[in-house]
């Protein structure tokens, strides 16, 4: 199978299993540049797919290239990880660390050059609007602030591939608006993949979208393409109606 080296993500027949349960079932997805939204109901496989793209999980079967590299090879996996940003669904943190220390820790683990780390950490913290809390201990922060700390560590290395799992969970409306602007900005130079339940995030920030159900991709296209399926669907917006209509159709 010929993989496309110019794509940020090139997945062919990707399968993941947990015991006897198939979580991802032959996922084909090619993503290059911009902000890509992964939609789907709970248990659809969105988090597993993002964890696979983040090189946290190795695929049970199928082919995967990330930023043109094969993650099965150790040296190439390291090369991917240096250019990767990842925000997991549940961010674990060291309560005694300051915001700066936490982001700096992951800059160190990403093997950023020493001289670049402190300015890069400062920029990342400023970009997520936490400049006034840079010296605060993580245990003193609200849930929304912790989410922004997680985003800061993900973008500290100016990643070419940024993977965000439910990034806007816990953010207030004003923060979400700022965050979408940040996504669009990053999407101009790299590839951002966000997994979300929030249709309005997709409508505002994503230029491509895929809908995952039961471990399969049941739709891929632009948000406008998804909205075009609105007739007969349920929801407050055309995008929501398109989402429910496509899901209903996929389930027969």
């Amino acid at each position: 199978m010929v993989m496309n080296a110019t794509l940020s993500v090139d997945a062919r027949g990707l399968t993941q299993r947990l015991g006897r349960t198939t979580i991802l079932n032959g996922v084909d997805l090619q993503i290059s540049g911009g902000v890509f939204g992964l939609l789907g109901p709970n248990g659809a496989g969105k988090t597993t797919l993002l964890r696979t793209f983040a090189t946290v999980l190795s695929p049970a079967s199928g082919d995967l290239r990330l930023l043109g590299y094969d993650p099965r090879r150790g040296a190439e996996r390291t090369a991917i990880r240096r250019r990767l940003g990842y925000l997991p669904q549940h961010l674990g943190y060291y309560p005694g660390f300051t915001v700066f220390e936490f982001v700096e820790y992951f800059a160190l683990l990403k093997e950023m050059p020493s001289a670049e780390i402190r300015p890069a950490v400062a920029r990342a913290i400023e970009r997520v609007g936490l400049a006034d809390r840079a010296k605060a201990k993580l245990k003193t922060l609200s849930g929304g602030m912790l989410r922004r700390v997680g985003i800061a560590q993900a973008i500290v290395n100016d990643p070419d591939l940024l993977l965000l799992d439910e990034p806007t969970a816990g953010l207030d409306p004003e923060q979400r608006v700022l965050f979408r602007a940040l996504l669009r900005e990053i999407g101009q130079t790299g590839t951002v993949i966000i997994s979300t339940h929030l249709i309005e995030d997709v409508a505002a920030a994503c230029n491509r979208v895929a809908l995952l159900d039961g471990g399969r991709i049941v739709f891929r296209g632009t948000p406008d393409d998804l909205s075009s399926f609105a007739e007969g669907g349920v929801g407050d917006s055309a995008l929501e109606r398109g989402y429910t209509r496509v899901l209903t159709g996929a389930r027969g």
Binding site: V56, G92, Y105, L108, K110, V121, A134, K135
Partner: protein, 230 residues
């Protein structure tokens, strides 16, 4: 204002440099020393974030060994040799992994591999526990002889803790394997050899050494597949 500013000054960069210096907390002496010793601030931070090397854990270890020193001095029984290997084995089981390290999920997507993180922490935990055991032995008396008696079992139980925690993906399982394994050996030795002979009998050291090598090999193989997942 702009008349006084050279056109090639990047204010954003200057601000980031200054903010980075102001916001960065002073690095502790221990971490600075480790960074110098290892030649890597990254490895130093990896080690100081080890769950089983936090201050509370170290204090608990010191207390346990302190009790061992007192009891050894009073009874003449090898309590330090009994306790020091268990402390190291349990500490290694709790050095890294899901449910132990809060940032475990994120660590798995980092350029410095989880296997490197794990092995760095294993070496650090073993070194710290060996140092604490050495100090305890020094307080009791003949440090060299006493140390030789527990160092080999410590290596064996450390390898057992690492192998069991890696195989199960669970630090408590690794710790339980260490405690149970050592209890079985000591109790078995008590029946066949009497007293705490199994803890420091020189005839058993080759067996402990061989077990340490086998278990360490198993742990390394597991860390390549079970820990990294690739």
């Amino acid at each position: 204002m702009s008349d006084h500013v050279p056109p090639d000054v990047d204010f954003g960069r200057v601000w980031a440099e200054v903010a980075g210096e102001i916001w960065s907390p002073p690095t502790g002496a221990g971490e600075r020393g480790l960074a110098w010793l290892l030649g890597s601030p990254a490895f130093a931070r990896v080690i100081v974030t080890t769950p089983s090397l936090v201050v509370s854990w170290l204090l608990a270890s010191v207390v346990v060994l302190g009790v061992g020193v007192v009891v050894t001095a009073q009874t003449g029984e090898p309590w330090i040799a009994l306790l020091a290997p268990v402390l190291a084995g349990v500490g290694i089981a709790f050095a890294y992994g899901p449910g132990v390290d809060p940032a475990w999920e994120l660590s798995r997507s980092m350029a410095i591999s989880e296997r490197t993180v794990l092995l760095s922490r294993v070496v650090a935990v073993f070194a710290v526990n060996a140092l604490l055991g050495l100090l305890a032995s020094f307080v009791v008396g003949d440090a060299l002889t006493l140390t030789l008696h527990w160092l080999v079992p410590m290596a064996m139980l450390s390898a057992l803790g690492l192998a069991a925690a890696s195989a199960s993906g669970s630090a408590p399982v690794g710790a339980a394997a260490v405690v149970l394994g050592w209890a079985l050996i000591v109790l078995g030795g008590s029946v066949s050899l009497g007293g705490m002979a199994a803890v420091q009998d020189a005839r058993l050291m080759p067996i402990y050494s061989a077990l340490a090598v086998v278990l360490a090999s198993v742990a390394l193989a597991l860390s390549n597949r079970k820990v990294t997942g690739w």
